[in-house]
């Protein structure tokens, strides 16, 4: 136990990196999810197909594979492009960026399904009513679709977020100095890997438990005024 206390700063800084990574990928995944849902619901056949391919691809490929492809392969592609066009010099894709992009990309597909379902759950008449009183599409989105979409999307969003937090652990495999990486390094150097890994598990448990409680509270808030079946 003393060793944990001795290395507390390392664990804390690792936790900070993990949280930043999770929030960054969450932001990206929400953006991608909204775009994906819009594409899936649009009447344009092309965008429909692209979004469909995106969600199928993600369902088929494990996140670590995409992460490694992006970290090792993306680096080469970006630099080959830079050399060919002469637009940029050597670019380094660091582990953090590769992590945010790959996790965000993967969970963007899950968010697409979440948001699509949530938008479909809003009665069509409400949107038509909004248009009929002269709202612009943006106003319809901001005042009618968005607030109700959140309510319908929250349960599945909570689930996605909990899975996302756990997915951040994989970034340690490509060498980002996150919680898992720091803890396994410290654990090896003091020869107490079990103690440190257990500490990591507890920290992850705290993160997931806190977000679980927080998001449940939000679910109750957004469901105020809705009859419970």
């Amino acid at each position: 136990m003393e060793s944990i206390w001795e290395y507390r700063m390392l664990l804390l800084s690792g936790t900070a990196v993990t949280i930043q990574l999770a929030l960054g990928s969450l932001a990206l995944s929400v953006i991608l999810g909204l775009i994906g849902a819009a594409a899936k619901l649009s009447k344009n056949r092309m965008s429909h197909r692209v979004a469909g391919a995106y969600t199928t691809l993600i369902r088929g490929v494990p996140d670590l594979v995409l992460m490694m492809l992006l970290f090792y392969g993306g680096q080469q592609i970006v630099n080959d492009l830079g050399t060919a066009t002469g637009w940029w010099d050597y670019v380094e894709i660091n582990q953090f960026i590769a992590g945010v992009w790959s996790i965000g990309f993967v969970f963007g597909a899950y968010m697409t399904e979440t948001f699509r379902g949530a938008i479909l759950a809003i009665p069509r008449g409400q949107i038509e009513a909004g248009i009929s009183v002269g709202m612009t599409p943006l106003q319809v989105f901001r005042r009618i679709t968005w607030p109700q979409m959140i309510r319908h999307a929250l349960p599945s969003f909570t689930n996605n977020w909990l899975v996302l937090i756990k997915a951040t652990a994989l970034v340690s495999v490509i060498g980002l100095h996150d919680l898992v990486w720091n803890a396994s390094t410290a654990g090896r150097s003091v020869r107490e890997p079990f103690t440190f890994m257990f500490a990591v598990l507890i920290i992850y448990l705290l993160l997931t438990a806190c977000s679980d409680v927080g998001l449940r509270w939000m679910e109750r808030r957004y469901n105020v005024g809705v009859d419970r079946a």
Partner: protein, 270 residues
């Protein structure tokens, strides 16, 4: 193997002469020098990928079976709120569902060696020092935790009338469980279970982080050996996609067979 043959584009056994070029050599030349992906190199090592796929499937399937069998009694105990079991089982599932599988696997594989008791026990030599067994144990517990929770949901949602009917027929609790509750709960849990199977397959990439040569492990090995950036990962990606495709097809067949009674009727009689 000499140093030069380790480099990209030089493989032992294939030399191109000026006088004659067979189709194979022509393909190798295109693959090495013109194509963005060195597909001939992948083709040379495709057998390793198939072995990797075998390992991935082996660990995934065994842990799904073991975890699934563990989950049935656990889910029953949770659904019927067994006073001494409900709480501990809840703690078990909460712990395993709230933490990353990667860290759980590290804890078992790297962590347990910290204790002399474990290293000196009879389990150490054949089991706990082997990455295969460590992965299998962790994966089984992990999938057991997830399966317990959705199976509990399915058991709790059994229609009240079915249970009352079973009681009215004079079935004992055990027989009712075996004939009525579990079969209908399994059916309702099937869609959730297909997700769990695909998730387990995705999670099995953790195998490659504890020195095992699963699909991703082979991809990483190939890239490391020939200094490649994406050939190995793209091949691994295609393998995983094929596996997921087959699994979801199989589940769709099962769902159309076992959940037939839940589909809306297609023909309406006049």
């Amino acid at each position: 193997m000499d140093g030069a043959s380790l480099q990209r584009g030089r493989r032992p056994g294939i030399t191109v002469t000026n006088t004659e070029r067979t189709l194979l050599e022509y393909l190798v030349d295109i693959s090495e020098n013109h194509s963005p992906l060195d597909f001939m190199l992948i083709a040379d090592h495709i057998d390793k990928f198939f072995y990797g796929a075998l390992l991935t499937l082996e660990v995934t399937l065994i842990s799904l079976v073991v975890g699934g069998l563990m989950a049935i009694p656990l889910a029953l105990a949770r659904a019927y709120r067994q006073p001494w079991l409900n709480r501990p089982i809840w703690c078990f599932t909460y712990f395993f569902r709230g933490t990353p599988l990667l860290v759980q696997t590290y804890l078992v594989y790297y962590g347990l060696a910290q204790f002399d008791v474990v290293r000196e026990s009879f389990l150490w030599d054949p089991v706990l020092s082997s990455p295969w067994w460590c992965a299998l144990i962790t994966f089984s517990l992990n999938t057991a935790a997830y399966t317990t929770e959705f199976l509990r949901g399915a058991i709790e949602n059994t229609a009240k009338g079915e249970i009352e009917a079973a009681k009215a027929c004079g079935m004992s609790t055990l027989r009712m469980m075996r004939r009525i509750i579990l079969p209908s709960a399994f059916r309702r849990a099937l869609p959730a279970y297909s997700n769990e199977v695909i998730f387990m397959l995705h999670s099995s990439v953790v195998l490659s982080t504890i020195t095992l040569q699963d699909i991703l492990g082979v991809g990483r090995w190939l890239n490391g050996r020939y200094y490649l950036a994406y050939e190995g990962f793209i091949t691994a990606m295609l393998f995983y996609m094929a596996l997921v495709f087959v699994i979801s097809r199989v589940f769709r067949l099962w769902e159309s067979h076992w959940l037939k009674h839940l589909r809306p009727r297609e023909t309406v009689e006049a």
